[in-house]
Amino acid sequence: MARILMKGNEAIGEAAIRAGGIYYFAYPITPQSEVGEYLSRRLPEVGGVFVQAESEVAVGNMLFGAAASGKRVFTSSSSPGISLMQEAISYMAGAQLPVVLINIMRGGPGLGGILPAQSDYFQSTRGGGHGDYRVLVLAPATVQEAVDLTMLAFHLAEKYRNPVLIAGDGMIGQMMEPVEFPDQFEEPPLPPKDWATVGARDRAPLITKSLFLDPVALEKNSIILHEKYLKMKADEIRFEPYKVSPKNRAIIVSYGTMARICQTVIDELEANGTSIGLLRPISLFPFPERAIHDAAVAPNIELVLTVEMSMGQMVEDVEKAVLGKKPVHFYGRTGGIVPSPEEVRDCLLKLLDGGKAK
């Protein structure tokens, strides 16, 4: 298929359809409302379902009911809306249901603002709701990657029977870029959906639940979930190195839109003779700890700089990865302010040379 110019939000909606995600439940919220607007037109054309719910609380639970059918269901929202879905996400993780959640993040806490941010990192990667659980978290840096990861998310959700979250930001949702959709979504075979509650016609009744009143049974369920998360950590780590080389004096760790701005900084500094590498996590859970560690401990590396559109959340995972072997610094803005390349460059040079470029 030819490359076409699309807004991130609309491209995500189209990507979901191409991956078979034609059952969509949502409530409008800025800066991602175009996903729902686009799908309200497209889904009737492909025999899909679009329900505009009364609240994000209801959306989360509509997903719960719909996902139990074994069909590919999803929603999109932005930070405060995702917060309202946390109840259902916890239940779906407990009941092991596949669902795809798109979070086009905006500034917070509370109602915050409507401009881009990455301040839902803790919520995304630590579970967000109550109980012992994790969700797979994928962070696109371009509109094309938002397309690719949205499609992948449906596969991973079914593969692990687990919620998968796309952690985009308002910039990804609102920007327009050329994108290409595969003619057909190719994916490895998945196990049969013998867990789907679609009526006990010719088998014993199935119960989809997260309630285990017997503490031994509940612990057993949590251990099953934990083993699944360990498998994700073994098999689903994704990251992209950019200009990582033995000449690097520093490594930047950054994701999503912010990583692209850091690439601009790296290109500019390279032209001036300063070699910096970027390690861009694509999966925020599982986190590419080993890759960051290995890049950070290289002999010439003087420091690691984590750059985020938050007050510093992923930096804790970076510190954990580096294990104190190199200094880890943080630079970030939030509230909808996207750090400029100049800000990041100046921060980096100050750390390296007291403000003077080499």
């Binding site: 329900v51 639970n61 719960f64 009526g199 006990a200 009744p205």
Partner: protein
Amino acid sequence: MSEVTAQATTITFSRPESFSDAVTHYCPGCTHGIIHRLVAEAIDELGIRGRTVGIAPVGCSVLIYNYFRTDFLESPHGRAPALATGLKRVSPELIIFTYQGDGDLASIGMSEIVHAANRGEKFTTIFVNNAIYGMTGGQMAPTTMPGQVTATSPYGRNVEEAGWPIRMCELLSSLRTPAYIERVAVHTPQNIVRAKRAIKTAFQNQVDGLCFSLIEVLSTCPTNWGLTPCEATQWVQTNMSPYYPLGVFKKPEPRLEV
């Protein structure tokens, strides 16, 4: 003699196929068991067991899935109508029912039930009203009667502070969309027969492709009311029935063009 034998072996009453053989956890004198059975009988008589999925609530009937031989989902508190909406929209061939208590449906889940009803979702809700929170130990519910003593209204429900009990059938029947809303009770054999008829009609509506149906059932809670089972049935008659009148509040109407 052979005729007598034949009569003696004719089965006139047995456990519904849709019922499991588990022993329920309900308190003596609680009418959840009767209501469960009426639902199971309706499912059997309509021949829909194999394509029925129940949505369990949080509350006394949280373990309802142990007592039925149909698929079940366990819902978060109050959200059963949202789960039912999701499942029915993606699998319209299924017969879906929620089974909810008064705390679940009229308090924490008020938004979900109102909007599901107003959208005309094609599922069936069995709403069990016993005027109290049962499972958490007898606290005040939105349906608790004026003056009724509960664990959190020790001086009796004060309507000046807590408002008057919410009448869900009246509230939901003010909406144009829902197909069928009826309030029944199960404190006498006569009422049980009427309740059965209403529950079966609500499921029949779904089989026929009609939109949302809700049956409210006045139920008992001897344990938390502090009454004997017999006194509890009388309490339904004297205290609840006058405020929660039985009857049909909404019937299916011909589809109106917008």
